[in-house]
Amino acid sequence: MLKVKNLYKNFGNIIAVDGINFEVKRGEVFGLLGPNGAGKSTTISIISTLIPPTKGEILFEGESIFENSKNLRQKLGIVPQDIALYPTLTGYENLVFWGNLYGLKGAELKKRIKEVADIIGLNGRLKDKVEKYSGGMKRRLNIGAALLHHPELLIMDEPTVGIDPQSRSHILDTVLKLSAQGMTIIYTTHYMEEAEELCTRICIMDEGKIIASGTKQELVELVNEKTQINIKLDNISDNMLQIFKGIPGVYDATIIGDTVTLFGENGSILLAEIISKALEENTKIQSIDIQKPNLEAVFLHLTGKALRD
């Protein structure tokens, strides 16, 4: 449905997007996962035709979106990272406005607003002004405004940033529902759990580049044979990190906050060694856990830093 080919975007000397390639297939939820500043939103802005790329090509249904943006724009729904709504208008007035812009009117628009309100769970609150909504309700309405015209491709840019767990859960359910209805979704996030839960395929981005892509399973396999051990210590130092890295069987180690994360083979043997080394250095262990490999581990493995860095 959508092919991104060799895409670059520079802002002066800053390379925001650095030669990325990926393809989004019809009906899938495609995840763009990466930390802040990875280039996800710039990529989304280029796909949305908001800004032109420095170089590269994007094909929508086989046609360049830069040569004919109309086809894409008519079939595209966008949920921006910020709440792109009019706070002094009611939820209903906002939906009417965005529906009108997509050519909906009269009974058709009313019917569609009701359907969308059901999907986003705001049916009883549409008469209220948006400024009176909670953060989660605004996010849901933000999604609703993008659904009115039955888009074939829905781009959701960090739709769950800064909201309560209940609203977040509602939004994730909505995405799954839309996906079940056959909608193609590009979902950007820096929450590994969301990408794991929602996305059929995931691109992991960092510093403008795609550093890995595939299904969750394929990505996890990159670190599948490794064990991830997180150790919370009283006193972390570079010296301690070097000691851990020197343990035979440890591939990599990194400090995240007050925790040292190690990757290595055979977790149980490593665990004994780690405790032994900590005791030798007179460092108190507060907690220790062994994790199954996940996307966080993949990112950590590939970049040496955490997704939330």
């Binding site: 035709t49 966008i78 921006p80 910020d82 208008l89 406005f97």
Partner: protein
């Protein structure tokens, strides 16, 4: 359809903002009411005042020779006194001693005209007032000045409604004249009374009892009535008229100020980007803003016209001229609003819009005569009044109230229309340039 949706949305947005409603709709209504009341009676205005020299015409309705003959005859018949009246010359007193005096001639430049010609000159605006010296003026003045009798002299002053300040000047000077003349008459009568009491003057005062009857109310012997006449259907400007127009033309500028924020607000709210993705062109977005500002200004004008008509009894004059001028004024305001919106969008902050609302509107109001009538302002401010959009509109509205034809305001209407067009073109160019620059260089927010 899409433009209409944008317009409706913008109107709803503005009308849902209570502070905006207070600033744009309520404040001017309150201010025009307060100012109209506060300055009622003391307000004078004119659109073309020459303080240095007021041109007037004096109409003589009397015949000097006949009046003098009647005077001599009357004295002979009634008082049995043979008096020619040559001792005093009321004409000389009025024209030479009074109008020709050094002080008055600095203020008033007079010419003597026939009544019909004087009315023509007043209608054409060639003169600011007519002083009409009534029939038997010479006779009555001689009676007042030379005898103990008091005859009423009713001097009329007709003033041009466009030049009420000039009219006030002429009226004040005439009042000073009548006061002086009355003092002389009183002095003369006191002298007669004293002479009578002391038996001075002999036979000439045989009928002194009759004389004394007329003495008590001598002060009222000479009246000046000032009539502000209607020339070709023109009316004079009252304080309520002036400040209804002044506040209206000033406060529609706030619609431009509000409109000036709209584009950047859309950008900041990300709704601008969302509209672009919804395939709404820049032209549609700008057109939506333009017409939204136009309608806000039109709503303001309509509210103020209706309110001032019913509450302040402002007679706005020719309806079609008012409609055309109002549409053109709103158009100019919309153009200005688009210009401010574009430079605010380009600046990326609201300083330009704030500067416009807090400084530029105030300066325009001052230079345009919205605070004080321009006639009362220093000459330098009057010279620069053309820079203010509200000043042009104010002048035209006042002309319509005064009864001028549409042809008389057509040049102002054209100026307003051109102002609107030029500002719109400038705004579109700036906005397009900025959008193009943005796409090339701007760093967008990333998650």
């Amino acid at each position: 359809m899409k433009v209409i949706s944008i317009i409706i949305k913008d109107l709803k947005t503005v009308l849902s903002d209570k502070q905006a409603i207070i600033t744009t709709m309520l404040m001017p209504v309150i201010l025009m009411t307060i100012l109209s009341m506060a300055l009622k009676g003391s307000f004078i205005s004119s659109d073309d005042v020459v303080v240095e020299e007021v041109k007037i015409a004096v109409v003589k309705q009397y015949d000097e020779i006949i009046d003098s003959e009647i005077f001599t005859k009357t004295l002979e018949e009634k008082l049995d006194i043979a008096l020619t009246g040559d001792e005093v010359n009321p004409e000389e007193i009025f024209f030479e001693d009074f109008l020709g005096s050094k002080e008055v001639s600095k203020l008033i430049n007079y010419r003597v005209e026939e009544e019909e010609r004087a009315m023509e000159l007043l209608a054409q605006g060639e003169i600011s007032a007519i002083i009409i010296l009534p029939e038997k003026y010479i006779y009555n003045m001689k009676i007042n000045l030379l005898t103990p009798f008091r005859n009423n002299v009713n001097v009329r002053i007709l003033t041009h409604p466009d030049r009420t300040i000039d009219g006030e000047i002429v009226a004040s000077v005439m009042e000073a004249y009548t006061n002086t003349m009355s003092s002389i008459i009183i002095g003369k009568n006191v002298l007669i009374e004293s002479a009578s009491a002391n038996d001075i003057g002999g036979e000439g005062f045989d009928n002194i009892d009759e004389v004394m009857e007329g003495m008590t109310d001598l002060v009222e012997g000479m009246n000046v009535s000032i009539e502000n006449i209607t020339v070709h259907g023109r009316q004079s400007i009252k304080s309520s008229d002036y400040y209804a127009v002044a506040m209206m033309t000033m406060f529609i500028l706030f619609a431009a100020g509000q409109g000036g924020r709209m584009l950047l607000e859309e950008k900041d709210n990300q709704t601008y980007q969302r509209m672009v993705i919804a395939d709404i062109s820049k032209t549609h977005i700008l057109a939506g803003k333009f017409f939204a500002i136009f309608l806000i200004a039109s709503i303001q004008i309509t509210i103020m016209l209706i309110y001032s008509y019913f509450a302040l009894k402002v007679m706005w004059g020719d309806v079609s001229s008012i409609i055309v001028l109002s549409i053109t004024s709103a158009f100019a305001v919309a153009g200005l609003g688009i210009f401010i919106a574009s430079i605010t969008y380009r600046a990326g902050n609201y300083r330009m819009a704030n500067l416009f609302e807090n400084v530029v509107i105030q300066v325009m109001a001052l230079f345009g005569g919205s605070f004080f009538p321009l006639d009362l302002m220093p000459e330098i401010i009057q010279k620069f009044s053309f820079i203010s959009l509200n000043g042009v509109a104010l002048k035209s509205y006042l002309k319509i109230i005064l009864g001028y034809n549409f042809a008389d305001i057509s040049s102002d209407v054209l100026i307003l229309a051109l102002t609107g067009i030029l500002f719109t073109i400038a705004g579109v160019i700036i906005f397009n340039k900025e959008v193009a620059e943005n796409a090339k260089h701007s760093k967008i927010k990333t998650a």
